[in-house]
């Protein structure tokens, strides 16, 4: 019994139950006619999944999201690692990405629409500009902070630069690179929704705005809930892949 109570899953479940309970309570007061209860939202969610109206919109949202995230991850990690290894690349790249990370990038969306129209390209680019800076900067600082003695170890045992990068620096940096990927993925979800709300209403963004406009608030909240749930699951999967590919030592303690 006590091991059940101490299990990390129990705690997570408990926090979900508390949040859902608070939501249900606030919805029943009600604090606003536009705020449905948790159970109403869940039944709307069930209904939308059953009638296919939710499933059918997701491909439209996932297309720019996934393409954007793949581009940002590959390009971002490559840029970051290169900047961490090469002083000139660092000098050139670091200020750019530091500015990009702190700038309110949503403000660039009208500019992207102006340049690339209202199609897929603009949406992919929105995902990229949101997610890439944090991926680049994490990869960069992770590589820069590889313990000196570990690199010296690689050198003293006659590792080539390639071996030292692939067998020591990248695995050593992988936790922070992955932290950047998770943050980048979260930013990418924001970018994908922003693009659908600000550029053209498609996918889940359309579902949110449409249901808001016809005052079907339970469906609107169900749409928001679904994308949040997707984001959480996606990021959780990302974390698992890290343990699987790079950090078998963490798998042991899980």
């Amino acid at each position: 019994m006590s091991s059940f109570l101490k299990h990390p899953l129990t705690l997570r479940l408990l926090s979900v139950i508390i949040a859902a309970g608070a939501w249900e309570y606030l919805g029943r007061i009600p604090i606003s006619p536009a705020f449905p209860t948790f159970l109403q939202t869940m039944s709307a969610l069930g209904g939308m999944i059953a009638d296919g109206s939710m499933v059918s919109v997701y491909p439209a949202t996932f297309q720019p999201l996934l393409i954007g995230l793949i581009i940002s991850s590959i390009l971002g990690i490559a840029c970051g690692v290169f900047m961490g290894l090469n002083a000139k690349a660092e000098w050139f790249g670091a200020p750019v990405f530091i500015v990009l990370q702190s700038a309110p990038l949503a403000a660039l969306i009208p500019l992207l629409t102006f340049a690339y129209g209202i199609g897929l390209t603009s949406k992919i680019l929105t995902v990229c500009i949101m997610s890439m800076p944090v991926i680049v900067l994490n990869a960069y600082s992770a590589v820069r902070h590889t313990p000196t003695s570990m690199i010296e170890m690689g050198r003293s045992y006659l590792g080539s630069s390639r071996q030292i990068i692939l067998k020591i620096i990248i695995p050593a940096a992988s936790p922070v690179i992955y932290a950047g990927l998770r943050l980048g993925a979260a930013m990418g979800f924001i970018g994908a929704i922003l693009a659908e709300l600000l550029i053209t209403p498609t996918g889940i963004g359309d579902l949110i705005t449409y249901n808001q406009s016809i005052a079907e608030y339970d469906k609107m909240y169900a749409a928001i809930f679904s994308i949040m749930a997707f984001a959480v699951i996606f990021i959780e999967i990302l974390e698992r892949t890290e343990y699987f590919f790079f950090r078998p030592d963490k798998r042991v303690t899980q």
Binding site: M150, E152, M153, S156, Y157, L158, Q163, I168, D249, V252
Partner: protein, 264 residues
């Protein structure tokens, strides 16, 4: 002709590592070593002992080829050192183990970098993991080991590449005192078994006297070799008896007298 050649060659082979007039000035102007000359006899454990700031770690890293001297040269078995080499292996103060790799992979990592086939390098690594007393721990990860055990992995990695010269940079300084004593005793066995040249950096006088065949006493400002001491303590008695042996205690005392003026 052959007699002369032999005389020269035996003369040379007695010295494993020779440091000739090495000066090291770090960028920024800090002078870590000033015209240092010292020789390390083959098959012995020589300690570099001295207060902090005397350049002992710098010297070790120059011998390892990890740092370049500003002037002067280092030869290992008569060959000039221009970088890290197969005949030297390094044991790090902070162990420098890869946390994502098992004990076995860490111990075999030097061989992995040299491109030795997996089954072969694992067989060699297993032998040395056994030799340092970690049999049965092959599949654990460094975070599951104590500090002392981690450094044993570091030692197994250095032994596995079969280098003639082992460079140890304060290997026991991050290990607790009890483990340290046991480790020192085990090191003596390894030195006897392996017939390699050990260069051992330490700031502990007791440790240097206990483990070394010879001690190079380094002094700072300017950094120099002040004395070479050969602590002729009896090795045929038990470790605890050695630590109570008057000869051992006298040498410790003598070194401390020489060093104390530099410690304030």
């Amino acid at each position: 002709m052959s007699a002369v050649a032999e005389a020269v060659s035996t003369d040379k082979t007695d010295i494993a590592v020779s440091v000739n007039d090495v000066t090291k000035i770090y960028p920024g102007g800090v002078e870590a070593l000033n015209d240092m000359t010292i020789q390390f006899p083959k098959g012995e454990l020589t300690s570099l002992l001295g207060p902090s700031g005397c350049g002992k770690t710098t010297l070790l890293k120059i011998i390892a080829g990890l740092l370049e001297p500003t002037s002067g040269s280092v030869t290992v078995n008569g060959k000039n050192v221009t970088g890290p080499g197969k005949e030297r292996a390094f044991v790090f103060q902070d162990f420098a183990l890869m946390p994502w790799a098992s004990v076995l992979r860490n111990a075999a990592f030097g061989l992995e970098l040299q491109g030795v086939a997996k089954s072969e390098r694992h067989a060699i690594a297993e032998k040395y993991i056994d030799a340092v007393g970690l049999k049965g721990y092959e599949n654990l990860y460094p975070h599951e080991l104590s500090g002392g055990m981690r450094q044993r992995v570091g030692l197994a990695r250095a032994l596995a590449v079969n280098a003639e010269v082992l460079l140890m940079d304060e290997p026991f300084s991050a290990v607790d005192e009890q483990t340290r004593r046991k480790f020192q005793e085990d090191l003596l066995t390894v030195v006897d078994d392996e017939q390699k040249t050990f260069i051992f950096v330490t700031h502990s006088i007791e440790e240097a006297v206990y483990v070394s065949q010879s001690i190079a006493l380094l002094l700072p400002r300017p950094s120099r070799v002040s004395e070479i001491i050969r602590p002729d303590i009896r090795r045929d008695i038990s470790p605890d008896a050695i630590r109570r042996d008057p000869v051992y205690l006298d040498i410790v005392e003598r070194i401390w007298k020489g060093l104390r003026t530099y410690v304030e």
